[in-house]
Symmetry: C2
Subunit: 339 residues, 2 copies
């Protein structure tokens, strides 16, 4: 074994210490580093003092954020990068830190039990000791609900903006986003397509949070909240039904039931748009999508992620005329079924 | 804000979910996936059954390892990549999984308290409630000690092999590796340089583990264990003293004391070699080195990582004639001081 032919251990080390980077970013969000620096660039001592960081720790912490590409340091002053300023300043509507807050407050610890989940096939979150399921636990606490819904916005923003531009929206007049959470997909579609009227469909508890978000974007004239439970109620009758990061929460029968309800609610020529981190058909490239499925193992009793081919097959099985898969951004793709 | 000018949120998402990749790799080590596949390629059902993985979880788990580049899947059979086979099969002497085991058993949880460490400047590991310091806790338990020492080998192997080739060893006849742990640096130097005789210097508890490792490599004739405590005892008199991942454990005074002891022990023309994930002088590129310093915050009362310029300065301060920094592999560099 010589230097040139020995396989590299770099990837092993890089993945091994991936959790360090996650936690540094989570602490930066928790301590509002980016929100503070959105006001002005600051030197080490001022920033450290203002955020309440110990002098032993501040310099390494901020410089780690520089080296990872989340901050800049120029002539001793730290400042936000363009992406950090846009996405990680809590006071901007473009803030996506909700997903980082949720990962820090919930997922990091639950993923500590991954081996148990792999051995038992059972969820490892708030619901694991029979304290109810994820959604019951989350929806019962308004503060937690808002964090969860904002997290969903955080993880969906890029894909939402792509869907708002890419679908042939000119053909349609109405849409409903099913399991809408804060409503970011509904909002992005309305912003990009002024002729459309949309509904956000979710449990009644979500209403005020959706309405606040729609109000922030001044879209009250064209977006309404439609309370409902997609296990008990029919879906609203509109031209296009979207479901983002919804199907993966549920088992196979539940997935098909939701697609069937969408089919029933749509007119001929109407479309269902399912999107999330859809796994590539060979299940060998979209690592994020595959690990999102392990996240569903940890978070739900029967949920799992799936390939575009899987989803197109279910759509045809419940009656859609055709179904196609289209890549959106990063690990996210959509499957569009036409009735 | 248009699609083309909007900063990307990809980096944020990638770092956010870095801990998923870490945990998937840790569980694979814990469940001996690579050790099992080193015997032969296996299909999903056989591999899942043999490792005791639940059918809900196995396929996503193994395919995640494929997508991250740790396994291959060909015609339905999973097999190790070259790097996984070499470094992650527990039965090979090239195994470096010890660092993954330690990260899984200790660091993942301790890093859960990063925000507290940043606020207080205090360690967050076994020693945090006054139960003694890291090394006391680790050295008191032989099983834990062996895991820890093997972890040190895992994180050092690539750098050790580079040092064994790169230093002008032809000029020297003897060396001592101070804080040698399992002894991998001493072993790699001896393997690459048949004219050298070396010592492994560490606390007496380490002796049997060092000797077992040297025996495995059939180097008993040229490598000896030298028990000692570098706070109480002088360092052995040899031509070259190496210290890998040692200085960063200690505070500034302790660092200089160790360099001073090395200077005292060396002959004129002798060299001290300090290596670890040395931070770049601008403290803006070596993210791993900077986060390793945060790891020292979590793991020790006063340790920290440092730049090549910092270290060269300390070396000159204690009397070394010259000091130079040389990159080794990945985030690792060495600082060589000549007396």
């Amino acid at each position: 074994m010589t230097e040139n032919t020995a396989p590299s251990a770099d990837l092993i080390m890089q993945v091994c210490f991936g959790f360090w980077g996650s936690k540094v970013l989570f602490s930066a969000i928790e301590m509002e580093v980016f929100t503070e620096l959105a006001k002005r660039a600051e030197n080490l001592e001022t920033l450290q003092g203002r955020l309440g960081i110990h002098p032993r720790a501040g310099r390494d912490f901020f410089d780690s954020l520089v080296a990872m590409g989340f901050l800049r340091r120029t002539e001793g002053k730290y400042s936000n990068t363009a992406a950090s300023d846009l996405y990680l300043d809590r006071h901007k509507p473009s803030y996506i830190g909700g997903i980082l807050e949720m990962a820090n407050q919930r997922l990091y610890e639950h993923w500590g039990h991954l081996t148990t989940a792999l051995r038992t096939g059972k969820q490892q979150n708030e619901g694991k000791d029979g304290q109810g399921e994820l959604f019951e636990a989350v929806y019962a606490d308004p503060a937690r609900l808002k964090t969860f819904l904002a997290a969903m916005t955080g993880i969906s923003r890029g894909a939402n903006m792509a869907i708002a531009r890419r679908l042939p929206w000119g053909k349609y007049r109405t849409y409903a986003d099913v399991g809408t959470a804060q409503g970011d997909l509904a909002v992005q579609i309305a912003l990009a397509n002024p002729h459309l009227h949309g509904l956000g469909f979710d449990l009644a508890e979500v209403g005020p949070i959706f309405e606040e978000y729609v109000e922030q974007h001044k879209l009250n004239g064209r977006l309404r909240f439609h309370p409902g439970n997609f296990f008990e109620d029919p879906l609203p009758q509109v031209d296009v039904i979207t479901m983002g990061h919804i199907l993966h929460d549920w088992n196979l029968e539940e997935k098909k039931m939701l697609l069937r309800k969408a089919h029933e609610a749509l007119p001929d020529g109407g479309a269902v748009v399912v999107y999330e981190s859809i796994i590539d058909d060979d299940r060998s490239r979209n690592a994020f999508g595959l690990m999102m499925s392990l996240n569903m193992l940890i978070e739900t009793p029967g949920g799992f992620d799936y390939t575009g081919r899987d989803c197109a097959g279910w759509m045809k099985e419940v009656g859609f005329r055709e179904a196609r898969v289209e890549h959106l951004v990063g690990p996210e793709s959509m499957v569009v079924g036409t009735k």
